[in-house]
Amino acid sequence: MVSTGVGELDQLLKDGYPDKSAILVVGPPGIGKEALGYWFTQAGLSQGDFCLYVTRLAVSEIIQDVKAFGVEIKGPTVWFAREGGQTRVDINDLPGLSFSIKETLKVNGERSIRVVTDILSSLLMLNSSETIYRFLSQLLSETKQYNAVVLATLEDGMHQPQVLAAMEQLFDGVLELRLYEEGLRVHPLLRIRKMRGMSPQPGYYNFAFTHRKMEITPYAK
């Protein structure tokens, strides 16, 4: 198992994400789903794993966001980014992107690998869902040849429900961070929609971000 970087989440998932898995974090914009990627990267770097961060943003924007969550990404992260990374991300160039990722994984194939990406929604906005399904399906099966865990974020409410359902099918685990309306209140809730090796989890969990921490507590209506 691979630590998520969040103690309570590790506990919920019985020690973390499964080995050689692909995890999808679904949630609306602005809710903080990227933070799971930051903690995942931080935990990987502290264990000496190879960490690759593929983002549609500039590295400086990510670093700014990382600091806002009180996370310290110390260590040699490899960045594929719009600006400031080792490799420039062009989300219109799917073959190029796929090639760069595979080459990087090949070079570091002896180590434990963590890949975090936020480009999925952008790819789905610019390409047909069938194209992205094929692209992702191939890429994820390639990454599983290595000792790698991929964590991708996807914007909820941005795509059609059937597109979301198709994407979820490609991943071994799906975590959902959503806002739920209950009377006049809004609760940010986490739910484990599916996870390889675990029985379906019916419960919801409250979550909150405090400085340097994500707190997760059981939710009862």
């Binding site: 970087g5 969040v6 602005g30 809710i31 409410g157 739920y180 309306e181 809004v186």
Partner: protein, 250 residues
């Protein structure tokens, strides 16, 4: 008859004020649970729009129904209308910046990142001019941001039709409709008050209020569409797994 009309106004004003307040409540409730600064800012300005229109509609109802016109009232009216320029500009700016962030290609539509400074200066200028104009010739003579609302509605509805993001499209549509109804409310009273038959029934004011109420309802829908909100199913919420107390994460 006069007392019936006053009651009708009071009811209409109450509907408008309560709807704007409700929109504000939802905007700030959603803001509280968002963590990204740009989305929080967007929710903040939707909420401030609600607060602003509660204040403006209350002031206009009170001042116009009592017919009071003194320097003090004109200064307050001018300041309220003037601050409206700034609130509306900040609201639109925050929405456009979020729209850009959600665009996969980060398109800087109309070079907004630069244009916003130019328009910001224009907005402050317009706000100052409206305060001066209200003091000089009475607040009721100042047309409250008619052109800005119309152009804003047009731009927002156009952006909504172009956006590939379902949530943003819904939010922009409601925001555009809100702006459009408020513009309509600010424009219909003058032409309607020329029709004697309608004036006798005091319908121009009623029709104006109906448009403002439609704007308030649209702002409420705009606030609720900032992010998709789900509903917890009772069956799923009854069995939360037990978590042992834990002390650290990072």
């Amino acid at each position: 008859m006069q007392s019936d009309l006053s009651s009708a106004f009071l009811v209409l004003w109450l509907i408008v004020a309560v709807t704007f307040s409700y929109a504000t409540y939802w905007a700030f409730t959603i803001r509280r649970v968002l963590v990204h600064r740009l989305y929080r800012r967007q929710a903040t300005w939707v909420g401030r729009m609600g607060v602003y229109f509660v204040a403006l509609s209350s002031f206009l109802t009170l001042a116009l129904s009592t017919g009071v016109s003194s320097l003090y009232v004109n200064v307050v009216g001018g300041l309220l209308i003037g601050s409206g320029f700034i609130v509306i500009f900040a609201w639109m700016d925050s929405t456009i910046r979020v729209a850009r962030l959600s665009d996969p290609l980060f398109r800087d539509t109309l070079r907004w990142s630069k244009l916003r400074y130019f328009l910001g200066f224009g907005t402050v200028g317009g706000a100052i001019a409206s305060v001066i104009s209200a003091i000089m010739s009475g607040f009721s003579q100042v047309a409250p941001f008619g052109g800005a609302l119309f152009l804003g509605a047009f731009a927002l509805l156009l952006s909504a039709s172009r956006s590939g993001d379902i949530t943003l499209r819904k939010h922009l549509t409601w925001t555009g409709l809100c702006t459009f109804f408020l513009w309509l409310g600010s424009q219909v009273q003058m032409p309607l008050s020329r029709i004697q038959f309608l004036v006798q029934l005091n319908l121009p004011d009623v029709i104006t209020y109906v448009f403002v109420a439609a704007g308030a309802y649209s702002l409420y829908r705009s606030a609720k569409s900032l992010v998709p909100l789900g509903h917890v199913s009772i069956a799923d919420s009854t069995e939360p797994a037990v978590l042992q107390p834990i002390v650290l994460t990072s």
